[in-house]
Amino acid sequence: MASAAIGKRKVQWAFLLPALIYLMLMAILPLIWTLTLSLTKWHANIMPKPQWVGLDNFKYFLFEDRRFWNALGFTSMYVGISVTGELILGLMLATLLSQKFRGKNFFRVVYLIPMACPPIAVAFLWRMMLHPDIGVINTILQTIGLSGVKWTTSAKVAPFTIIMVDIWEWTPFMFLALLAAFQALPMELYQAAAVDGANSFQMFVRITLPLIAPVIVTISLIRVIDAFKLFELVFGITGAGPGSATESLAFYVYVIGMKWFKLGRGSAVSWLFLIILLIFAIILISRFKQKRTT
């Protein structure tokens, strides 16, 4: 009996082992490696070996580096506005396209196109469209008598340009998930509400929203985590400028690590980045659990 249990455990381990080895090699070891690196000074292009500096890199970012806080500020603002915008627009589109009308399927497909494009291609597409001299958008504005907008070269406008493009690209994701959620809603509740005299708005607020709330939390969480990694749009559209007006955390990590080859600092800022994301993820997941419990 006992030997059968041991044999069973061995089989279980045999099945688990490849996944565990993969996880160790691909996730845990790099994390430990970057954590170790984050405690060193290593300008890899001129220093052959890292030099131990303890927590200096973390102190530098948290207390001395204005650019880190600027990048964090922009990234947070971008995540807040763009995910909210995508959610609202996605909800509106999903509500609209869950109704019955002719050509509904055509629009459902068309709205998915932006999400299917590679982000770097989206960035260059918009960069050309927003070009101040030859861009189609300014040309249209000027044709109808309006003045051109400095989409990418004004420090006030450029952050909202990035947000606008992100909303264009990722609203379809929200729309798709919410549409699926709408289609899974039980019709009986609506029929009962109609019998009780509820109007469309009341049905939406009292029935639809509470029922799709878990979906909203889940897709928002996914989008928040994804949006925090903003890189391609910044790289392709504004180059993080003007100045550092649209510099995201991910772009800053790239500059430190890949442009200046400061691997110690790059690892430290990556860890800070990871911690911020984890805090955010934990808060959202715990709220989601609370919601399910209640």
Binding site: N45, H131, P132, T152, T153, A240, G243, Y252, K259
Partner: protein, 508 residues
């Protein structure tokens, strides 16, 4: 026992099979002196537009030598990380690379590339005396030649003759501004006035609005050199390299950045003001956008490397509408400069030539697989006859500008490249005057240069762009750059940086 034997066998197979796979075939024997196997494959790392040069010579080399040239083409924005990845990982992913000299403080200083001197001694070099001193200077590190020269880079002035040379406009300008301007403009104050004067009206009567001035202003591109064109004039005066002459970046005694000095601030104010008289999309102008816009006729004055001149000659390829309409000159000077010795402005018309960017060179990484063949391919592309065809326009826009004495003498080749004879002479004179200037200020070439100012996301790039977009004041921009530069110098090692800087300037 049998089980142990089986286990040992399995372990041996597990170790030996991958070892055999990864070991690969034994390396071919190294070429002995004078006998190099040129039929080996050579991998070339190159960026646009220098690919044009490689593409031209690749098939001829392959046909002549029986070798194979593999080209790794990357955009300028990602060249740096591609190069550093190889230098750090030492995988031998390329044998020869075309890189800008502004990175060479770290490339040479970090010992990542072969000394070319050894190859020159071993195989010779095609007419070293033909290479101009400025082009030699940028290939050297601590007295040793580390790269193959390939490009002579400096900014120069381009102006529209059908604007600045029109008597009616000259009279109007004098009425409005009270003086006769020089052609080309002698100083940045004149540039500002001319840019204002020619801004936003149709001075060439083509039915379109033109603008005053254009230059590279895009972030993550090469805007910093547009600023340094101006900065050099207000910060120093030409002379034998010393702390107070032909020096624009650091105090050579204290290694304190000069970024907060009145000269830098004045230049920052000037470049910010010039954006008022430029095309609306100026802050989106990288080098490609600037060249395209200027040769399509949208501005009266522009500042660039020698490439606008090449594109000017090619109406079909580059849509040039200004063939024969451009004049050329050195960079404008200034009516004053800030003398740090006496801490006061000196009112004096003067010009400082600045070797912006310094140019592109070919380097052979330490881990290259076929170094000897790579050297031979390098000198094959850059020998006097071949390089002339690459710089004069016969091979189109290659990004390489003249750098050998012979390039400046062969006017007939330039005419074959599409130039008018007089245009070619004027263009070559403007460039050779700068390259021959013994007091021309060399660009910064010390470790950390990409972080100080030449790389994407560098301190100067970021804060300059904030000033150009009027997000911060020129004074604030200079203060931020100063703070960053102090920090970077401290991080890299104060004494080491000082020694590198003094050596790069030729200050004992």
């Amino acid at each position: 026992m049998q089980r142990k034997l089986f286990f040992a066998l399995v372990v041996m197979i597990c170790v030996l099979v991958p070892a055999a796979l990864f070991a690969g075939a034994p390396e071919k024997e190294e070429a002995v002196e004078g006998e190099v196997d040129l039929s080996v494959p050579i991998t070339v790392l190159v960026t646009d537009p220098h690919i044009q040069v490689v593409d031209t010579w690749k098939p001829i080399w392959e046909a002549q030598m029986g070798g194979k040239i593999e080209v790794v083409l990357v955009p300028y924005a990602t060249l740096e990380e591609k190069m550093w990845l190889e230098f750090r990982t030492k995988t031998g992913s390329f044998d020869i690379a075309c890189v800008p000299v502004t990175w060479l403080g770290e490339v040479f200083g970090g010992g990542h590339v072969e000394s070319i001197q050894n190859y020159m001694d071993k195989y010779g070099y095609p007419d070293w005396d033909d290479v101009m001193p400025a082009a030699k200077r940028i290939t050297q590190w601590q007295g040793e030649t580390m790269a193959l020269p390939y490009d002579g880079d400096n900014h120069m002035t381009y102006y529209r003759k059908d604007a600045l040379e029109v008597p009616e406009y000259q009279q109007r300008f004098k009425r409005e501004y009270g003086y006769d301007y020089h052609i080309p403009p002698a100083n940045w104050s004149e540039v500002r006035d001319l840019a204002e004067f020619f801004n936003e009206w149709d001075w060439d009567n083509d039915g379109e609005i033109e603008y005053g001035v254009a230059f590279i202003a895009q972030q993550n591109s090469q805007a910093m050199w547009s600023y340094m064109d101006i900065c050099a004039q207000y910060t120093t005066i030409a002379g034998p390299p010393s702390n107070y002459t032909s020096n624009i970046f650091f105090d050579t005694e204290t290694m304190e950045p000069l970024c907060k000095t009145p000269g830098w601030v004045e230049a920052m104010k000037m470049i910010q003001e010039l954006t008022n008289y430029a095309p609306p999309g100026l802050l989106g102008y990288g080098y490609s956008e600037l060249r395209q816009a200027f040769v399509s006729g949208n501005s009266a004055i522009a500042f660039d490397w020698g490439d606008i001149g090449i594109q000017e000659q090619k109406p079909v390829e580059y849509g040039s509408k200004v063939k024969g309409l451009l004049g050329y000159g050195p960079l404008p000077g200034a009516k004053k400069y800030y003398d740090r010795k006496t801490n006061r402005w000196i009112e004096k018309q003067h010009t400082v030539n600045f070797l912006n960017f310094g140019g592109w060179v070919w380097v052979i990484p330490k881990a290259a697989k076929h170094k000897d063949a790579a050297y031979h391919f390098g000198i094959y592309m850059t020998n006097p006859e071949h390089s002339l065809l690459d710089v004069c326009g016969i091979h189109g826009y290659t990004g390489a500008n003249p750098w050998r004495w012979s390039h400046f003498k062969a006017t007939e080749a330039w005419v074959r490249g599409g130039w008018g004879e007089e245009s070619a002479r004027n263009y070559l004179k403007a460039i050779s005057d700068i390259l021959q200037d013994p007091y021309a200020v060399p660009d910064l070439m010390i470790p950390g240069t990409p972080e100080y100012y030449t790389g994407a996301g560098s301190s100067l790039d970021v804060h300059l762009n904030a000033v150009l977009s009027k997000k911060i004041s020129p004074e604030e921009g200079c203060r931020r750059i100063y703070d960053d530069w102090v920090r970077i110098t401290k991080e890299k090692g104060f004494e080491q940086q000082k020694a590198f800087y003094r050596a790069s300037m030729g200050v004992k």
